[in-house]
């Protein structure tokens, strides 16, 4: 394996230009924390951006932070936390689920675009990336967006970079929106609901004016794999339906009262506050019941996005048919499914059911030999797939960057 450790954007340009000349594709890595997601890449040359790790500027009053792409996510979170700010999209820490040791870099966070529970209210990584400098597969540095929230100057290429898994460009510097942390957080907790009823409860909560910032359901079965992080909350081994409220203290208390009344038909909600509440939501965000260190370590894990009100119908069907476990986030719009080991990770069943509900499924954790045999990312309709390929080629015509990561048939 050949590793190039770049120090600045100029190095990245040179590395990509050399790769073009040598027809040698590059695997782009930061900390390598999400390397196990996607297909095995058709290269053994690595472009390591982890040394591009500076904080270019942090302006709390402007609500922006500009970072080199290799800046460690954990360090950046501490930096902005010290000013009582956060990334509102609640980026997932994939390390526990994948069994990785690092939490990754800012670049990886954006390239993967894995937002947490607050996605339903605050948007995803794509909504918080204001600007980027990147090196395309032409070996040229370009910029897109800017350092201000409101900007419609030219195409919004930031949207494409977020969630592109490093296949369009090598990001070298990014500007992200930061938001104030809420003063208080409270979680209403309903016990013992089946998936369908829980989905209805979440729909009612999200359709209320109480500004719910998290709506998740952990069915009883998922707790066979529960971890200590849930502590006393999960001791009774029942299904938990959780709804989060955030904001100024008086408002949160008031809304908690109103929401509890609204949810009365579904049972009497109990209140979980502050630290316990945030531990609970970290559990949901990082899908800890399916963690690599837990009982389901050997099970493949799917991440399924679907219309929220259809979540329970899809999730229960998948769990029943495969004997698997599911967790619902985003009010039912995100399903994490851990399914019993099988050569194809139940891909055909998952894809067929998910497509029928208008969703899409990504095989987020599976052994390499399993990933070799199935599509990790949801196959698109032919016209859309062809457009996506043209879009990819408009950034990287020689397919130098992360070749084959997104598509199985491109690995040849």
């Amino acid at each position: 394996m050949d590793t190039l450790r770049v120090r600045d954007a100029k190095d990245v340009e040179e590395a990509v230009r050399a790769a073009i000349a040598n027809e040698q594709p590059l695997e782009i890595i930061g900390h390598g924390s999400k390397r196990a997601i996607g297909h095995t890449m058709a290269t053994n040359a690595v472009l390591d951006i982890s040394a591009l790790n500076a904080v270019t500027s942090y302006e709390p009053n402007e609500l922006i932070v500009t970072l080199q792409a290799g800046a460690p996510l954990a360090d950046v979170l501490s930096l902005i936390d010290a000013k009582n700010q956060q990334f509102a999209f609640e980026p997932m820490n994939t390390a526990p689920l994948l069994g990785a040791s690092a939490t990754g870099t800012i670049g990886g966070m954006i390239a993967a675009g894995l937002a947490g529970p607050r996605r339903i209210r605050a948007g995803g990584a794509r909504d918080h990336l204001l600007g980027a400098h990147a090196v395309s597969g032409f070996g040229d540095s370009f910029k897109t967006g800017g350092k201000v929230v409101k900007n419609v100057t030219g195409y919004d290429l930031c949207k494409l970079l977020a969630g592109s898994w490093g296949t369009l460009s090598v990001m070298t510097e990014v500007t992200l929106k930061v938001m104030p942390k809420p003063e208080a957080e409270r979680t209403l907790l309903l016990r013992g609901l089946d998936d369908a009823v829980a989905n209805k409860a979440m729909t009612a909560a999200l359709g209320s004016p109480y500004d719910v910032s998290g709506a998740a359901h952990l069915p009883k079965s998922a707790f066979r794999a529960r971890t200590d992080e849930l502590g006393d909350i999960a001791a009774q081994d029942e299904a938990l339906t959780v709804l989060r409220l955030e904001g100024i203290t008086a408002s949160v208390s008031h809304r908690a009262g109103s929401l509890r009344e609204l949810l009365a038909p579904f049972g009497t909600a109990t209140l979980v506050e502050d630290a316990a509440s945030s531990a609970l939501w970290a559990t949901v965000r990082d899908v800890l019941p399916f963690a690599a260190g837990g009982a389901l370590a050997a099970w493949p894990v799917w991440r399924i996005v679907c219309p929220p009100a259809s979540g329970a119908a899809l999730g229960t069907q998948l769990a029943r048919e495969t004997g698997g476990e599911v967790i619902y986030d985003w009010g039912g719009g995100l399903i994490w499914a851990a399914l019993p080991p099988k050569a194809d990770a139940h891909a055909s069943a998952v894809r067929q059911r998910t497509s029928a509900f208008g969703g899409h499924a990504t095989l987020i954790r599976a052994a390499e030999d399993v990933r070799r045999g199935v599509d990790v990312f949801h196959p698109q309709a032919p016209g859309l797939a062809a457009l996506s390929e043209r879009v990819r080629a408009s950034f990287d015509p020689k397919s130098i960057l992360n070749r084959g990561r997104l598509k199985r048939d491109a690995t040849a």
Binding site: G146, V305, L384
Partner: protein, 497 residues
């Protein structure tokens, strides 16, 4: 006309009658307009300084018709300019002499309201406000609220990534759109996204939003709807200095408060608005902030107190707090009427739309004052202060020789200053033709080449809305060519291990 548009294709113009007939075969009856008198309504959009009658207007009412029109035009090498309600302030829908103007005004149906998934599926010709009205009975609304919301279409909103007073808290169009049906220039119909939170694959919805009608023609849109906040109250705060008002904005945000809206007006704008609507604005202040808090009553009351404390600490000279809906609406009346109010004090005005970092506000206003002196033209400023989006209104008289040119040069200098201060050319009105030739002040050739290559992925012939956004048009083949870099094969001097 100061802006050069792509040269007209005489061969296409010579075949006009044939083209009209072909379009009539696709869209029968009144859906094809080709008389000069009837086409006059389409010769400009909200940027009325620029006018150009199109070759022909076609108003399809089905996706299939849109597809057939585009396929025909692509096959014949005919340019197409899409148009929604025609309220663009940057000339995004300015017709071309040799182009088909494709109006989406007949796509007026809301296709589905899905409260459980909190989405509305709508055709692009539906107005922004009509979406909110259609779901109001259940307490929902569509959050982005451009000031033209009574007239502007949701399709145009997607094309321009429209903002509005409330986008500080609730985001722009791009943050509130989930999916679409789009017809490419080839006539191919694609569906992107849906009712889920995220699309599969690359975020094409994200890049189509704000693409100013250059990538495809949208025929259906899925938008997110939200529950209306329980209540809203506003503060109207006056300052003796612009700097103090800017400081107040920074401190409110710094205190972790994101108001529903936070607007600033300078003295000329305050005076014009007050003379027009009599909202009770203080006339002896240099800057006025209107700050709206929304949410549960208990939260709004608490935040009003906190904001008032901050305003006092920043040296506010007047502070009124709304105690009723009528009063809140009165505070807003002047701001919302600021443009027509300025229209009363000046025969003509140009509305600019740059964004700057919030902290650069005093610097930017000082620069605008200098430029106002230099160009000998007045300027009133309204400002989405919370997100740094500046709307200087340059006052001029089109009947006085040379004034429009001076006004345009003044405007261009303001936008260049925005870029100089770390901001951008346009916050919400779009590039269109208005700021097209300034793109080089913000982007390098390489930046723009990458954007145009993306355009090629959607429209390889460059027939959809050419002459907008990009100052120079390149052929796709030329853009796709790999540069041969000097020292290309030499291995880079990078640490390796």
């Amino acid at each position: 006309m100061a802006i050069m548009m792509p040269a007209s294709d005489q061969a296409v113009l010579a075949r006009r009658a044939e083209i009209v007939a072909a379009l009539r075969a696709i869209v029968p009856g009144e859906g094809v307009i080709d008389t000069p008198a009837e086409m006059r309504a389409y010769e400009s959009d909200g940027l009325t300084a620029y006018r150009q009658p199109p070759m022909v207007v076609v108003l399809p009412d089905t996706t299939e018709q849109v597809s057939l029109i585009l396929k025909y035009c692509a096959g014949q090498g005919i340019k197409v300019v899409p148009r929604g309600s025609g309220t663009s302030l940057s000339g995004g829908a300015l017709p071309l002499e040799d182009g088909v103007l494709l109006g989406l005004g007949k796509f007026k149906r809301i296709r589905e309201i899905d409260f459980d998934n909190r989405v509305v599926v709508t055709e692009p010709g539906v107005t922004n406000l009509a979406i909110s009205q259609a779901v109001a009975h259940a307490g929902f609304y569509y959050a982005p609220d451009p000031s033209s919301q009574i007239a502007c279409s949701i399709g145009g909103n997607v094309a321009e990534n429209s903002g509005g007073v409330h986008c500080l808290k609730y985001g722009m169009t791009t943050n509130n759109v989930l999916g679409c049906e789009i017809v490419l220039m080839s006539g191919e119909i694609l569906r992107i996204g849906g009712k889920g939170c995220e699309n599969s694959g690359y975020d094409l919805m994200g890049v189509i939003t704000g693409s100013e009608g250059l990538l495809g023609v949208i025929t259906e849109i899925t938008v997110r709807i939200l529950q209306k906040p329980e209540t809203a109250r506003a503060l109207m705060v006056g300052f003796a200095e612009v700097e103090a008002a800017g400081e107040c904005v920074a401190r409110i945000i710094g205190a972790g408060i994101i108001p529903g809206g936070m607007e600033m007006m300078d003295k000329p704008a305050i005076h014009a608005a007050e003379a027009f609507v009599h909202a009770g604005y203080p006339l002896d202040v240099e800057a006025l902030l209107i700050i709206e808090l929304d949410g549960p009553k208990i939260e709004v009351d608490e935040l009003i107190t906190r904001v008032e404390t901050i305003a006092n600490a920043c040296g506010s000279t007047t502070c009124q707090i709304s105690t009723s809906e009528a009063e809140r609406n009165l505070f807003w009346a002047g701001r919302k009427a600021a443009f027509p109010a300025v229209g009363r004090i000046s025969p003509d005005y140009l509305c600019m739309d740059g964004t700057i970092p919030r902290g650069a506000l005093p610097k930017a206003l000082a620069r605008i004052r200098e430029l106002s002196e230099k160009y000998q033209l007045g300027c009133a400023n309204v400002f989405h202060a919370g997100d740094g989006n500046l709307h200087p209104l340059i006052l001029y008289d089109a009947n006085k020789p040379g004034e429009i040119e001076r006004a345009e040069a003044f405007g261009a200098d303001i936008l260049r200053a925005c870029v100089e201060f770390g901001g951008v050319l346009t916050g919400e009105h779009g590039v269109g033709i208005e700021k097209r030739d300034l793109m080089g002040d913000m982007f390098t050739e390489i930046d723009l080449d990458q954007q145009q290559r993306l355009k090629c992925a959607f429209d390889a012939q460059g027939l959809l809305n050419p002459g907008k956004v990009f100052p120079t048009l390149h052929r796709c083949a030329e853009l796709g060519r790999m540069h041969v870099h000097a020292g290309k094969v030499a291995f880079p001097e990078i640490p390796r291990f």
